[in-house]
Symmetry: C2
């Protein structure tokens, strides 16, 4: 489903919040009028609670929410109406959301490739901006009306979110809600990678993959805050002008050129820092591009994403080529290999707060500024995800909670035929990919018949690893026993 | 052989320099008088070249040099007399050496476990201090008489060394030759690990293994230059007072306690930085002690050293438990794994110079100061190595090129009986270790009979890896061919 179909498929997701009431999941569906714009309904409910006299305030409180209903294609994210005012615990705030940011992890999550998102049904989204609507007990640093940007493990793609106050940050003067929603994940990621793991210094060189993407642009801007840093940025040719203006020193079209060769031509000794969002064989390439004292920072596996549904060949290939390194190899190369993912840092509020403080400082000085590629309505989340996955964006894609206007809807309706074509296109694309996959398979089968052997080898290796782990555990236990004995003697 | 026997075994090592002369290796031996102190001979030669009228100056120039004659025990490092003035190329300087530093890499090298030392016969030693005696063409930043500390991949354990001027650094005012010889390797290692890879900041926590060793003491002092850094230091109990005075916050006796448990008691969340000179299973332990955004920095495999000769069991065990990590594991843990060894950085003169500049700055401010454990004559190099290997030192062990005085020699001679006992002890120790090794082997054989299976598995795995590498290479070639075809089209 592409986003514009969403309202027609609204479901009341109250059961997620109040499962103990044991209402059948279907029942509340009938309560929402498919033809009335749900956001205005929510607004009415908030503005005129008297209208819902018989129901308690919590019952009358509704808000629109994007919900991942199962793993799969773009249509698995549906726009639903949630009912009931979320309860506020001590230290929490409720935010009326204006904008939400889209991240690669959201695309991975939809395909079931991101283990930090709880099982569906669940609301995705790691960041948003909005206005504080209520504060819980013990909250002293935020008040109703504060404009904030917020960060969370998930659940940000909806009109109302409840988060610990420590996960919110006051928006600087002059920052738009789009910018505020675009900033947290990309800029914290770029900042911590370059300045904590990377320890970027003047005159160094950095490789930024997907330089026109959210993290890519954030990383390029961060590099520019340090003197004489050379940025190699990969992107398709059509984006080179923009990324070069944005600070990339050498733009490389990865579709037509071997980026390793291009880098070596300019920097024969290699690079100080490689930021790697791709995984698989690109991690190996990045490692081999490092200078002595160089740092490879791996922060994703975008190579796993191919097509809108989970592509097992792409996943297996990325997994199979997954980078692994021995400490002796690191010692002999004087190299560092780091892994970063903000999704696994959600409890590190102090680290996050420190990074955000520095980033907002850079924003105030005009040194960094999120570049917005486009804004989509919640109803259009499918289109938004498609654009990101097909790498047609330059900068950040954000979702706005503002409901679509009637005329916009009509226009969208007119495009329906085209959309149908698009769907057909999608199917064609997917079929083509499947076909290509099959062809590739066939070619491999015919050409070498090695693939399966390798897989079997891998399996065997995995089995052996497991065995070895068990054995190691045994050994450790024995060691401990021996040590315990020694301690007794 | 322990060091004091060295003079009796002096060999002329001229053949190393002038192999083309094709003198039999045994012949020059006779030229040196075993009963005359060789250093004074060298001094005579330098002071009174007129005495050697018939020989050209180059021929009359002799100097004492420690030479690794083959891999093995302490007696493999022999004191020899080299003949012939080394030639100076452009950009090089000749240093009359005062003191040389001992490093773990030297011990590894003697056992054949360090691939950065050329094959024997070769002079070991990575650092020294002394006075510039001659400068080559194009040298403008050094002059005869300058007091310098010098750094090189090897060859520093002798009275005269020739190095590129970029490998020398002017000694700060007030620095002793002992300190200057003790500083380069340990302090550059500690500095680059903590401040480049580690990016140490206030309030962080660091684990320093072998905290009473050369790098351990340097790292502790470096940590103290940053506000409120908590240092966990492992050392045997007898050294705790000294390392605590030196800046270790929590001293842990690794011989009687599990350091992982001790760290967790005080710092349940783990550590920001782990410096790991041990390798093997300790690298795994260090990795598991890391906080999010934590860095493990591996810089050696001291666990491979057990006994004075290569202990195959210790080597195999360390190798078998060698740490390897996948990028996805790093991503999920937000961790960094780094490898450092100065021996592989010898061509990075700029990086080294930057680090040395900062370190000498800290020395001038009184913030760092090498702690000298003891000074040995070149003749005593065996004793010096033994002390380091048996971890009986607190701080740096240095060698002085000053010849032993006659009375010292007599005293040493008196100790000879004791020395013989020591030798017997050595043999006993080695035998005991062998015995223990055998017992361990037997126990394992009897208990599980798994060890060999594992080894076989390892072998198979290695074979498979090799196969896979080959296959990958094939794949890469094919990929490139395909890409080349694409580029043509």
């Amino acid at each position: 489903m592409s986003g514009e179909d969403a309202p027609a498929q609204q479901q009341n997701a109250e059961e997620q919040k109040n499962q103990e009431t044991k209402k059948p999941a279907e029942e509340p569906k009938a309560e929402t009028k498919p033809d009335s714009p749900p956001a205005s309904a929510a607004t009415e409910a908030a503005a005129a609670p008297a209208a819902a006299e018989k129901a308690p305030e919590e019952e009358a409180f509704t808000y629109r929410s994007l919900v991942l209903t199962g793993y799969g294609g773009y249509d698995k994210v549906k726009l639903q109406v949630k009912k009931g005012k979320p309860a506020l615990k001590a230290g929490e705030v409720m935010v009326r959301v204006k904008m939400c940011g889209l991240n690669f992890a959201d695309l991975m999550a939809r395909q079931g490739l991101y283990d930090r998102l709880p099982s569906p049904p669940v609301t995705p989204g790691m960041e948003c901006s909005g206005i504080i609507e209520a504060v819980g007990e013990e909250v002293t640093d935020r008040k109703v009306g504060d404009k904030v940007l917020a960060l969370s493990r998930c659940g940000m793609w909806q009109e109302v979110v409840v988060v610990p106050t420590t996960h919110t940050f006051i928006m600087p003067e002059g920052m738009s809600f789009e910018e505020a929603a675009a900033l947290p994940v990309n800029y914290i990621t770029a900042y911590m990678m370059l300045f904590d793991f990377g320890h970027l210094r003047p005159n160094q060189s950095v490789l930024v993959h997907m330089a026109a993407g959210g993290v890519g642009i954030a990383a390029t801007q961060m590099c520019r805050t340090v003197k004489d840093v050379t940025v190699f940025g990969t992107a398709s040719a059509s984006k080179h002008e923009v990324i070069t203006e944005g600070g990339v020193t050498h733009a490389i079209d990865y579709r037509t050129k071997d980026y390793v060769e291009e880098v070596r031509k300019i920097s024969p000794k290699g690079l100080d820092i490689v930021l790697d969002p791709l995984g698989g064989s690109d991690t190996h390439k990045g490692y081999n591009l490092l200078k002595p004292m160089g740092k490879l920072i791996s922060y994703g596996a975008a190579n796993m994403l191919s097509g809108q549904k989970k592509n097992l060949i792409a996943v297996a290939k990325t997994w199979y080529h997954q980078f692994s390194v021995h400490s002796l190899s690191l010692i002999q190369g004087n190299r560092s290999v780091c892994g970063f993912h903000l999704g696994y840092l959600d409890t590190e509020t102090e680290l996050i707060a420190q990074a955000m403080d520095s980033i907002l400082g850079l924003y105030r000085q005009g040194k960094v500024k999120p570049r917005i590629d486009s804004t989509f309505h919640l109803e259009q989340v499918g289109d938004a995800m498609r654009k990101m996955q097909e790498r047609n964006n330059i900068g950040k894609i954000v979702l706005t909670t503002e409901p679509m206007k009637e005329e916009e809807k009509k226009e969208e309706a007119k495009k329906d035929d085209k959309k149908d074509d698009k769907k057909k296109d999608d199917k064609k694309k997917d079929d083509k990919k499947k076909e290509e996959g099959k062809k590739e398979e066939k070619k491999k089968e015919e050409g070498k018949k090695e693939e399966k052997k390798e897989e079997k080898k891998e399996e065997k290796k995995e089995e052996k690893k497991e065995e070895k782990k068990e054995e190691k555990k045994e050994e450790k236990k024995e060691e401990k026993k021996e040590e315990a004995k020694k301690a007794e003697n």
